[in-house]
């Protein structure tokens, strides 16, 4: 099996599986109980939180909340901070858990300010930031790494530009696709209102994530109950998942540079291979939607998004699947929608280009040999499907 859809989810590390297993087998107590096994569980959770804070260099000005994952973290920060009337802004290319949370606020007349006209290659053009002051925006919501394109919004640059252009606006970053691919600068935290992380995107367990947020901010809880986690996020804490997340984050951070180098090598090989295929197959015309040969401050090394009209991405995906090669079409979370990718359309692609695209996303477990297998299978699927799609295009 070749698995190239690591932006959707990643296989769990063996070490993580063992920790989760250990937690499930031995540490069942409720961390909210006053007797010793409950207190032991509480200590372990605090230790995990400390160890995560150390790994990510999170300062004491910021608080860590354990959530069920990226979607909950994004919902909690946006709704908890901005409901009902704090003005928000976004680029329009974020994950649905950001855009839909903002759409929820707009039902109450709190319309988010869209910066889509100011996107460049899927990232925010900083010259637009003065508009935030004019529009009295209090929270700017962006992806650290775009989940379909891999383009990077540099937090330090945005924070320093915000300080100059719109000091009232705080930055919230969805960092789900960034951890383990990019080195987080410890400097960024002081300018960040919040940052979300998901376990399963970094070889950790599903059902666990983090919201890191500035303790000066007051977040209104979105779930009410036993007042766990400072009353902001109620619910019994899942110790085994937290232990697994801790291990996954520590591993991801420890291996960031090594992973970057490995993924960059894989990306180069894939891009070169696709270009060679273009030369071999006169009917194949590839357009890269993600940036090619860019440095990691502009493009995450783990992701290549490309179009190949007239053959549809979904049909190629299933032909590759028949050979046990799994690739992505767009955000897995929006695979329920049959509409072409909102993100690809948002950066100016036509509907046909957007439909005729694939997203390849790597993890540190992928190999060069797998890329060669993919290229071979992609070339042959494209050749066999091209006549059919050409006929369809001509009919239209």
């Amino acid at each position: 099996m070749v698995y190239f859809d690591n932006a959707a989810t990643t296989p769990m590390d063996e070490e993580v599986v063992e920790r989760v297993h250990e937690g499930m087998r031995d540490l069942f107590a409720n961390s909210g109980t006053p007797y010793k096994i409950g207190l032991d569980a509480k200590c372990l959770i605090e230790k995990s939180a400390e160890s995560i804070a150390t790994a990510l260099k999170i300062p004491s000005t910021h608080r860590i909340l354990f959530t069920s994952g990226g979607t909950e973290s994004n919902n909690l920060l946006i709704k908890g901070l901005c409901f009902p009337d704090k003005k928000t802004a976004f680029l329009g290319l974020e994950h649905p858990s950001v855009t839909e949370s903002l759409a929820f606020l707009s039902q109450f007349g709190n319309e988010p300010f869209s910066l889509l006209p100011f996107q460049q290659e899927g990232r925010l053009d900083l010259s637009s930031l003065s508009l935030l002051k004019e529009n009295r925006v209090r929270l700017l919501c962006l992806s650290h790494v775009n989940n379909e394109l891999g383009t990077v919004n540099d937090p330090l640059k945005i924070i320093s530009a915000l300080e100059k252009e719109s000091p009232q606006t705080r930055l919230f970053l969805d960092g789900v696709q960034a951890i383990g691919k990019l080195r987080l600068s410890p400097e960024m935290w002081k300018g960040l209102a919040g940052y979300s992380i998901s376990g399963h995107k970094i070889h950790g367990p599903k059902g666990i994530g983090l919201l890191v947020y500035d303790t000066k901010l007051v977040l209104n809880p979105q779930m009410h109950g036993g007042k766990q986690q400072f009353g902001v996020r109620s619910g019994t804490l899942p110790l085994p998942l937290i232990m697994g997340l801790e291990t996954a984050i520590k591993n991801a951070v420890a291996q960031t540079e090594q992973t970057q180098n490995h993924l960059q090598g894989l990306c180069r090989r894939l891009i070169q291979g696709l270009r060679s295929l273009e030369e071999e197959l006169p009917e194949l015309k590839i357009c890269f939607n993600s940036l090619v040969d860019a440095d990691v401050m502009r493009q995450s090394p783990g992701m290549v998004n490309f179009s190949f009209p007239p053959v549809e991405g979904e049909v190629i995906l299933h032909h590759l699947e028949a050979k046990d090669i799994f690739v992505g079409l767009g955000s897995a979370c929006s695979a329920h929608s049959r509409e072409p990718s909102r993100i690809l359309m948002g950066i100016g692609l036509s509907e046909q280009q957007a439909r005729c695209s694939l997203r390849i996303s790597f993890s540190r477990t992928n190999t060069a040999d797998e890329i060669d297998q993919f290229l071979l299978a992609f070339g042959s699927a494209y050749q066999s499907l091209y006549p059919t799609f050409l006929q369809k295009a001509e009919h239209r």
């Binding site: 995906l317 032909h319 059919t388 006929q391 369809k392």
Partner: protein, 395 residues
């Protein structure tokens, strides 16, 4: 000793049957036995016009849920079997009614008796009076009132030749005829909302429904296949022993797309589906085809197109939804539990096979001319050879 309950099951249309009534009753009893087979220590009796189950009271809720999945049951009640002793019946009635009076100031009630044992010395109204007056003498001071026309609580007594059952509830059944009483049919199942409802409706007319799905892999993923498996399983709950035939269809669709007039594609696909379904039905001695078509719902479901599709088979084609609107079909799908599966997003045909402007009034000679352009018999046989056969009970 375990406390027992008697389930009194009434049939629907079997009651109208003449000399073959026994056959229908046997079918129904067999189907009932199947759904309650997981309940230990159960006894069956079927005096004329009724089926009685004698069950441990702890299984009453489970038994009730299962009986609601059996076509052919008009309604059923769960009560207690006892001697036709008025004092004992009234005591039971008091025991059931008294708690209801604790939470209400007054309660309108009546007693209804049905007496199939004509040798019983009292008439039904007399029994009503005997039991009712005993209960009233005990509970009238607590607010119980007799009201025959607007009763909020009805105590029912059935005095049969072998036993008397007392109950205070009636649950509606699926009605119709017991599965197996009308023979086997084959339903073209697409994964959409309509065809599962059509299959269910025919199961309620006594048919055992089998399913055929035309699979579009690898143009579409396995999602459609998984969805149809799940739908077949849901419908099979009402009948058991269904078979699902999964026919690979991409080769035939490709040939039609490449060789035939684009506007005719959808009708040509459906003609091939009917031919393949007919072949499966003939091999298995199934007596008809079922589809979820509803007149005018989509381009392929006009009168002309339905005729152009039906004429390729000599089998009867049943379209139980033909006169229903989408809203009523959706309501039914929700009732039978297939709706949530059907609406999972999964296209039933890859866009490259779909025409831009499908024909709404196809002409059979033109369709036949198109079919002369590709070896459909060979491709049909090939698809049948590659077909997967799944016993739905095993899923």
């Amino acid at each position: 000793m375990t406390e027992r309950r008697t389930v009194l099951i009434r049939y629907d249309e079997i009651g109208l049957k003449g000399r073959n009534r026994k056959f229908f009753e046997k079918c129904l009893l067999k189907n009932i036995k199947r759904v309650v087979s997981g309940i230990d220590d159960i006894h069956y009796r079927s005096p004329r016009g009724r089926i009685f189950l004698d069950i441990p009271s702890s299984f009453a809720a489970e038994c009730s849920a299962q009986l609601k999945t059996v076509p052919g049951i008009a309604s059923f009640s769960i009560g207690v079997s006892m001697d036709p002793d008025f004092d004992a019946i009234a005591a039971l009635g008091i025991q059931w009614i008294e708690p209801k009076l604790e939470s209400a100031d007054s309660l309108k009630f009546c007693v209804k008796t049905r007496r199939s044992k004509k040798s019983f010395p009292k008439t039904s109204p007399e029994v009503n009076f005997e039991v009712g007056s005993r209960i009233m003498s005990e509970l009238s001071q607590k607010g119980l009132k007799v009201n025959i026309t607007e009763a909020e609580y009805v105590l029912e007594i059935e005095i049969g030749s072998s036993e008397t059952v007392v109950f205070d509830n009636r649950e509606p059944g699926l009605a119709g005829l017991p599965v197996g009483s009308s023979g086997n049919v084959l339903c073209l199942l697409s994964g959409g909302i309509d065809s599962p409802v059509a299959a269910f409706m025919m199961a309620c007319r006594g048919c055992r429904v089998h399913f055929v799905f035309f699979d579009n892999q690898p143009f579409l993923g396995r999602g459609g296949y998984d969805k149809v498996l799940s739908l077949a399983k849901k419908i099979n709950r009402f009948q058991s022993r269904g078979t699902l035939y999964v026919v690979p269809f991409e080769e035939l669709q490709g040939a039609i797309r490449d060789h035939c007039n684009e506007e005719n594609r959808v009708v040509l696909y459906r003609r091939m589906m009917y031919r393949i379904a007919e072949e499966i039905a003939n091999r298995q001695s199934y007596m008809g085809l079922i589809t979820g078509e509803s007149l005018g719902q989509v381009a392929s479901q006009t009168l002309e197109n339905l005729a152009a599709v039906s004429c390729v088979t000599s089998l009867s084609v049943f379209r139980p939804l033909i006169g229903m609107n989408k809203e009523s079909i959706i309501t039914k799908a929700k009732e039978i539990g297939t709706y949530d599966v059907s609406i999972e997003p999964q296209p039933d045909c890859c866009s490259i096979f779909m025409p831009k402007n499908p024909v709404t009034r196809s002409k059979i000679p033109f369709l036949e001319r198109d079919e002369g352009k590709f070896p459909w018999e060979e491709l049909r046989d090939n698809a049948l050879t590659r077909m997967e056969i799944i016993k739905v009970d095993d899923l």
